[in-house]
Amino acid sequence: MRITHGQMTALVMLVLLVQIYAYAPAYMAEHTHQSLWIPLLLSIALSAIVGWTMLIVSEHYPNESFVSVLHKVIGKFLGNIVAGLYFIYFFILFIIHSQMIVTTFKTLFLPRTPMSAILLLVLILALYCSFLGIEVLARASNMVLILLLATILLLIFSVIPEIDPSYYKPIFPQSSDGLLYSTLISFSNYGQIVLLSTIFPFVNHQKEKRKRSKVFGGILFSCFLTSMVLVVEIGVFSPFELQRLQYPTVELITLIQIGEFMERMEIFLVTIWAGAMLLVIGIFFTVSCLTMTHMLKKPKESKALNILLIMIGFASILQFVPDTTNLITFIYGQWVYLSLIFHAVLPVLIGLFFFIRIKVMKHGKS
């Protein structure tokens, strides 16, 4: 069983579509105010470069797993270390996303339900996703993506009348203070494009032609669309008010009113977001398990290993990010910087090694 380029694109698009508008708008508005569009554009450009590099490296070794690509590009020893680091990266993303959905629902809709019960439900789903495998997730991703895209578009178009253009002025910032930190925040989201490398080996290269531009078109579209949500939030709430909102996108949804009858829509739209988020959690956990399986050189995925990883995940969440405050502190205090290793340092290292290797091979042939 193999997946198509379209399904791979859908998986990456989904990953990029679910996170940035959850907590980031408040922090980005705090540092860059109305000029939030600049770090967004910068991070999209950086992510595109990183994604392009990783895609070119992966395309050179079709049908090879991410771990064996790393072995071929940077050698076995270094490859194993980088693969191990990426396993930790995907696992941390799985933990962040899991706790993000749990705390969101706990805070907004289920205040009396124990957090561990909601978390358990999320982890069971992640485990089920890992048992089904990346092919099933890829097949399922298209429809979830369409639903989420429609929801985000509905949200953007519904609140456009509420935008006050004066909130965007002055368009250009007077100083560059906070610009770097804001860029890092959005890059910590859009940099997740590196996921491409782990999913690419599943694409059926025999049946399909290379569709690099379509893949990138889709991914950039999702980056711009989520950026639009943040830009709209500035226009609706003003940079000053946005800094004080913990769930600005949910607040944005409350502005939607269908006639006089449907007064509040947030639960319906947040539920659609939750569906996509749960699938993304499943994707991250499945990719973590796959990376670990390939590192251990096992021919097949082991269910026992997946169960062990989910138990580690459960314990880690309860230990390190037990509530919203801890989660936000971790994301905006540590993860924003740590993610640079996986989104910039390692891709640059892999890219450099790859281009040197290609040059040497070409030189050797000539």
Binding site: F109, L125, R264
Partner: protein, 512 residues
């Protein structure tokens, strides 16, 4: 120890009825001895076995309850004339379709299938004439798949009649009919039909392989065959289609699918299927695309309503009251004021009562069934509301859910969603909307992982094939559906017909 284990294994295998075999011995040259073996060894205690000796020369054996009386009379008359006038050589030119058998295993099998066996003195071969006559039901309109504009005939229990009903819709030599017997004791005829050159060879050989692997003592219904050949043995949803309508089966064969007829059951199996094909009704193709699309949307909505409506009510009233519009919230609160139970209990109570009524309605004779429905729905429902046992809103919710479940055209799919509804009720009662979306995603992933003869169950939606969407929720005009469904045919470029839209354009130009 090893020997003991092996012996136990042997015992376990020989314990199956399906391992019973008929002792295979050659027939005797003496008719009397053959009669004796038949009546004592093979068909002892069978009072409908008839053994007739004719002029000391021939012996005729048959089971009178499954043979045609007129044909038996003709055969016996012919034998009497033959023995007295021309002698036994005349039997070589017997005016009945016949075969020759030399061993008892085949002879006994032929007798139990309604053949007449003729033994001839001093001959090592017996003549077997097929004169089976089993009473069959007349062709009637299928009760579960009624149509307004479509044909009225449905399959019956005779597989030969069922084959003829399909053959009369596809007069083409590409229609292949492959027969086999399944059931070591019942020896049930199972027939596989497909359109050669259109149906995927891979799927055809896979179905043949799966059918040949079936080892059971008896096949009573097509559902038994289905459980042996479907891709996922524990799937909660139907993975093989079944229909009583010859037009539907013929249309599916024309699309490159495979049909399986099982003798003794009017439900013909077909596959591969997708879940969306189970939401289609025959009338979709006998009416305009607009009404077909509208009805499909209604069915799709009904599918979700039958699955989610009670859980939606529980989630909204228990966890997310603020999401209910104020006027409606006040009305629900007024209705629930006197009810002492939480929403979960009152919904479960009415749901279970409704399941009781449904089962009672099925088992009881029609006249009493109607009374039970009226008593159940009106009297108990009204009394429960008046007694403050449940709120009127729950009665409305459960009633709409029940009506929705009847809208689903495929009974098995409706039943599956009925079971799943209870899981969603508990999820909604525990986690509100979060539980519902969790359940929906698990269900969606589960359905996406399923396959019917290798064909993705949620195709063309998951995986997404935009070209295949012309006949799922929307029904596009037929000239736009020239392509075969992906995966079911070998050649992706194969088309059903040259797609030519707008045939009336020429005439309009003439008028101008």
């Amino acid at each position: 120890m090893m020997w003991k284990k092996r012996n136990r294994k042997k015992d376990a295998i020989s314990n199956f009825v399906s391992k019973f075999t008929t002792q295979d011995t050659p027939i005797s040259t003496k008719t009397k001895k053959n009669f004796e073996i038949l009546s004592t060894a093979y068909l002892a205690n069978n009072d409908d076995l008839i053994l007739l000796s004719i002029n000391q020369q021939f012996g005729a054996a048959y089971i009178e309850t499954i043979v045609n009386d007129k044909k038996i009379k003709q055969i016996l008359d012919y034998l009497r004339k033959t023995s007295s006038n021309q002698g036994q050589d005349q039997l070589e030119h017997l005016p009945f379709h016949h075969s020759k058998e030399t061993r008892f295993e085949n002879i006994v099998q032929a007798l139990t299938r309604g053949s007449c066996v003729l033994f001839i003195n001093h001959q090592k071969e017996a003549i077997v004439i097929d004169i089976q006559d089993i009473k069959e039901r007349a062709l009637e309109e299928p009760a579960a798949e009624a149509t307004i504009k479509g044909p009225r005939e449905g399959f019956n229990e005779n597989f030969k009649t069922n084959i003829s009903l399909i053959r009369k819709r596809i007069f083409n030599h590409h229609l292949k009919v492959e027969k086999r017997k399944i059931g070591t004791v019942s020896q049930t005829d199972v027939v596989m039909l497909y359109l050669d050159g259109v149906a995927s060879e891979e799927i055809v050989s896979e179905v043949k392989k799966r059918l040949s692997r079936i080892e059971v003592d008896a096949v009573q219904s097509s559902n038994q065959i289905q459980s042996f050949i479907k891709d996922h043995s524990y799937a909660i949803v139907p993975l093989v289609g079944s229909s009583e309508r010859p037009d539907k089966i013929a249309a599916n064969i024309m699309e490159g699918k495979i049909a399986i007829i099982v003798d003794g059951t009017p439900f013909v199996l077909y596959g591969p299927i997708s879940m969306f094909s189970l939401l289609q009704a025959p009338d979709d193709y006998y009416d305009s695309m607009y009404i077909a699309t509208l009805l499909r949307m209604v069915r799709f909505g009904a599918l979700f309503a039958s699955l989610l409506l009670p859980s939606l009510y529980i989630a909204l009233t228990t966890f997310h009251q603020e999401m209910i519009p104020t006027a409606l919230a006040l009305s629900i609160a007024a209705g629930r004021e006197a009810v002492p139970f939480p929403a979960l209990i009152e919904t479960l109570f009415i749901e279970i009562i409704f399941e009781f009524l449904r089962e009672a309605g099925l088992r009881l004779p029609k006249a009493i069934g109607n009374t039970i429905s009226i008593v159940g729905a009106l009297v108990i429902g009204d009394a429960a509301v008046r007694a403050g046992f449940v709120s009127p809103f729950v009665i409305i919710i459960v009633s709409i859910t029940a009506i929705s479940s009847f809208i689903i055209p495929n009974y098995s799919l409706g039943v599956s969603f009925r079971i799943l509804r209870f899981a969603f009720i508990f999820l909604a009662a525990t986690f509100g909307f979060f539980g519902m979306v969790w359940g929906l995603l698990v269900l969606y992933l589960y359905l996406t992982s399923l396959r019917s003869f290798g064909y993705p169950y949620l195709a063309p939606h998951a995986p997404l094939f935009p070209k295949g969407l012309k006949d799922t929720i929307f029904r596009f005009p037929l000239f736009q559906q020239a392509r075969y469904p992906k995966f079911t045919v070998d050649q992706p470029s194969l088309k059903r017909f040259p797609a030519k839209p707008n045939p009336g354009k020429k005439n309009r130009e003439k008028d101008d």
